[in-house]
Each structure stands twice: as structure tokens, then as C-alpha cells.
Amino acid sequence: MSEPKFNNALVRWIDHRLPVFTFMHHEMHEYPTPKNLNYWWNFGSLAGIVLVIMIMSGIVLAMHYTAHVDHAFQSVERIMRDVNYGWLVRYIHANGASFFFIVVYIHIFRGLYYGSYKAPRELLWMLGVVILVLMMATAFMGYVLPWGQMSFWGATVITNLFSAIPLVGESIVTLLWGGFSVDNPTLNRFYALHYLLPFVIVGVVVLHIVALHRFGSNNPLGIDVRGNQDTISFHPYYTVKDAFGLGVFLVLLSAVVFFLPNSMGHPDNYIPANPMVTPAHIVPEWYFLPFYAILRAIPDKLFGVLAMFAAIGVLFILPWLDRSPVRSATFRPIYKVMFWVFLFDCVVLTWLGAKPAEGIYVLLSRLFTAYYFFHFLILLPVLSIFETPRALPRSIGKPILEGGGGAMAAAPAAPREKL
């Protein structure tokens, strides 16, 4: 770690007293990053940027939104019709939520494939799961705010999950509602929390990054960095790569915002909330569907709810379920296959969550729910014992320097010093 030299006298003056520039130089410029990261490593910084987009568009919406059952729906329609560019900001926010989950789910599956949750990154992983849970709570409460039919009945169904708790369940639900049904007090508190939680997420993201920078990024080979020859500085090599990924992401987000803005929403939410009539087919937003499928797969109220929460909870203990010392699936022949089987399982659960809970779908939901837990609770611990990993490279630099490194051979052997 060299002391950075700043040319600007004002920067030097400030930095001497408040070393923010040194800090940024260390953490965002010279921060040594494995030189073999592939594009799957773009999604962490991308998620951070999406969080910023969500907060910025959300603050704009909050300037025009009214959190009252008599005005909420109208105020959202006013945003769509009357507020300058309100339609744009709202579509960015609504579709941004979906894209946020796409980015974060890819980020999570990247961690699963390359074993990024393993020592010494267990806390980094667990903080990530905390972020996921906070995101889900935030997204759920945000979906209630437009006060359409899906908002109202989504809020009713999800809050009723807590009624499954023995003895105190009903009291807890009344507490959550602030009344005897989802009503104005519920809407008000959801709005307050929907504004608060993103900033809590920012706080946990900071911890997530602190934990990340303790040992640096994992990498596609899953082996530790051995020295400077294995790393390149974050800037410009990964800033430019992240910027390119951001460009691609923004093209996709813009395509949906401008051309398919309601493709991921439900038409029923353009009907004002009616506490007397439930829509025929209640479906949560797509990013909740796998968990919703697990909830419905269990034919018991309490155990269904427990299974749904356990589906996320199991991620917390993942670092202790998968005891294999080899991180990357590249060197784990069986796990590599089972990873894709598990991904398929999650995709099918997502599909099942959108289907009505009847006929063959119930049976399939049960099978795929069982497999979800089998993967974590039985397969991973057993694989840790019986799987024979392939030989690991001696260092990140090795497979590159000794030729035949496939796509990675194109990478320069040593970072060029130019700038």
C-alpha cells in the first residue's frame, strides 16, 4: 500500500486532516483485485448502483405520493399523468425493483457456484443474506403503496403469514395492521418503513463492502491470491469493466422501462383496493414466487410458513453446510452438476409459484421444495465428504503464464503501467 500523491493542493490540505481521498484511493483505485474475475463479478457493484437508482427515483416518488387510503391510488395516477416525467420515474422505480432482484439473484448464484461463502468470507455472505431479506421486506411494502387490488390483497396475505405463529399469532397480525384489517394505519407504517429500510440496506451494504475488502474478492478459480502477480488494481481495470456492464444493464433496463413497462406487473393493481373483493388469482411479484411455491407446497399453515422462512434461513448457515475446502465449482465435478440441478429447481419453483395451487402443480411443488432443502441439508454436507475435487492450480498466475489458459490467455501477464 503506497501513500497516494495528490497533485491538487486543496485535496492534499483536506486529506491531511480528513483522509477521505487516501481512503478512496486505497479502496476504489489501487485496491488489489484478482486479475481473473469474469463478468459474473460485475453484479456486486451493479447491485450497489441499482440501489442508488432505486433510492433516487424513490425519493422523487415520495415527493408526490400521498400515504392515505383515500388518496394513495389517486396520487399514483397523478404521478403517471400529471407530474412532469412522473411516468418515467415511476416506471424506473417499479421495473428497477425487478431488475434489482435479477441482479442480486445472479450475484447470489455466482457466490454459490464459486463458493464465495466459504472461509474467510462467511460473514460477508451472511451480510449479503441480510441484505436480501431487507430487500424483500422493502419490495413487499413498496408494492403495497399504490393501494391497488394486488397491493391490498398481497399485504393481507403476507401479514397473515404471521398468524401461523402459535398462541400470539393473531395478536401479532393485529399489531402489524394497527387495526383489524389492512387499512390506513397499515399503509402509513408501510410507507414509513419503505422509506427507512433502503437506508438500512445502505448501512449493511457498507458492512458488506468492509467485509469484502478484508480479504478481497473471491475469483473463478476459488484459490487465494498469492501475491501482487495475481492481482491488478481496481481502477482502471475493474472500474472500466463495471462501467461497461453498467452500460449493458442500463440498455436492458431502458428497453423495459420505455417499451414493456408493465410486463412484470399485474393489471389488477390498476384497480383501486377493494377490501370486499379478492381478485381471482393472487400472485406475488415474480421475485417472491419460489418462496411462495414453497409456502403452498406444505399442507399445514404453520409448517408452510416455517418452510418459506427456512428457505432463506438455510442460506445463513450455508458456509457450515458445505464443508468442502474447494471453493470453485470448476474443480468440483459433482457439485458443478448439482449446482445446475439446483438452479433448475429454483427456476421450476418460480414457475410453480405462479401456477394455481391445484392438481399436478401441488405435487410438483412438493417435489421441488423437497429437493431445495435436500440440496442444502443433505447433498452439500455429504458431497463435502465424498466428492474428490480436481487438482487446484498453484496460483492464479500459473494457468495463465504456462499457456493454454483458454480465454484467460488473452489477459496481459502483467498490468500495463499507463495513465
Partner: protein, 176 residues
């Protein structure tokens, strides 16, 4: 890298080009996020107000709302009009003759917002203090306005504004 002459390189060009493209992109995105704070379409739709002045008797003042702000409509007495006309222009901080401030001399229409810092001056009610010149008095920081709504004393820099209005019939004015 290809040719690297002294000073500038292709890479410098790429840096400048990408920074420029990035700045343009940010500016394009920034505009909707700024413009959303401007008045919305439904707010702009409420920007005119019609009012029938025939109900305002001589010596009477009425306050109506235009764009969320008070508008003073005062049916002035002969005495008040004469006072307003009698003033010499060089006595006024913001010189303006009374007839430039009215369409019909007896019906004075003013934006009831003090030009100092936006308080509503007193003087609409018969019991209000009207200031030393018998017009309006702003209690916030002590500005005195005369019977034409012109600033005479105090920190306000200009006369009470006359909103854009016209008579759309003999007795109905449309403000805005």
C-alpha cells in the same frame, strides 16, 4: 498502443470522449429528475381564476385565491383614488402612476403578497391596520403600502404586484 506522440495519445482521446458521453448521459437523466419538481399538469390547469367583481361594494375589499396565493380586490372610494393620484412620483421608492395599476380606476386588483419576503399584508378587513398611507401594512417587517398598493415605507423593494387579469365581461375578471 499505436502511435504515441508527445502529450496526447489515443487513450487520452478515449478518456475525453467517454467522459463527455458520460456527462451528456447524466445530464439527460438529470433533467427529468429536476423537472418533476416543476408544477404538474393538474397544478398548471388551476392557474386561472375567474371572479365577479360586481358584488364588491364601494369601500369593500375581498380576498380571492389565485394559484394558491391571495389576490386583493378592492373597490376604492373616490377619496382613495384621489389620494393615489395626488402623490408625486419622485416620492415613491418604486415610481408608478395609479392608472397604470388598474384597468378600471375604482377596482384595484393586487397580488396580496408583500414584495419583501412574501407575507400577506393587513388592510383587507375594516379593523386591520392599514399603514400610514391608508392602504396595506405588512406586519412581518413593517412595510407600508398606499391606496394604490405602492410601497411607501419599509423594507419591501417594489409595489404590490398587479396580477395579469382582464375583464371578460363588464363585471367578471379572469386572473392569470
Amino acid at each position: 498502443m499505436a502511435d504515441t506522440n508527445e502529450g496526447t495519445t489515443r487513450r487520452d482521446f478515449i478518456h475525453v470522449a467517454s467522459a463527455t458521453a458520460g456527462a451528456l448521459g447524466v445530464a439527460c437523466v438529470a433533467w427529468p429528475f429536476i423537472d418533476q419538481m416543476n408544477p404538474a399538469a393538474d397544478t398548471l390547469a388551476l392557474s386561472t381564476t375567474e371572479f365577479d367583481v360586481s358584488g364588491v361594494e364601494e369601500g369593500m375589499s375581498v380576498t380571492i385565491v389565485w394559484r394558491g396565493k391571495p389576490v386583493f380586490v378592492r373597490h376604492r372610494t373616490e377619496k382613495e383614488i384621489n389620494e393615489a393620484n395626488a402623490v408625486k412620483l419622485d416620492e415613491l421608492p418604486d415610481p408608478q402612476i395609479d392608472s397604470d395599476r388598474t384597468t378600471k380606476p375604482e377596482m384595484l386588483v393586487l397580488l396580496g403578497v408583500c414584495t419583501h419576503l412574501g407575507c400577506v399584508p393587513l388592510g383587507q378587513s375594516s379593523t386591520d391596520p392599514k399603514g400610514e398611507w391608508g392602504g396595506w401594512f405588512c406586519p412581518c417587517h413593517g412595510s407600508h403600502y398606499d391606496t394604490s398598493g405602492r410601497i411607501r415605507k419599509g423594507p419591501a423593494p417594489t409595489n404590490l404586484a398587479v396580477p395579469p387579469y382582464k375583464y371578460i365581461s363588464d363585471s367578471v375578471i379572469k386572473i392569470g
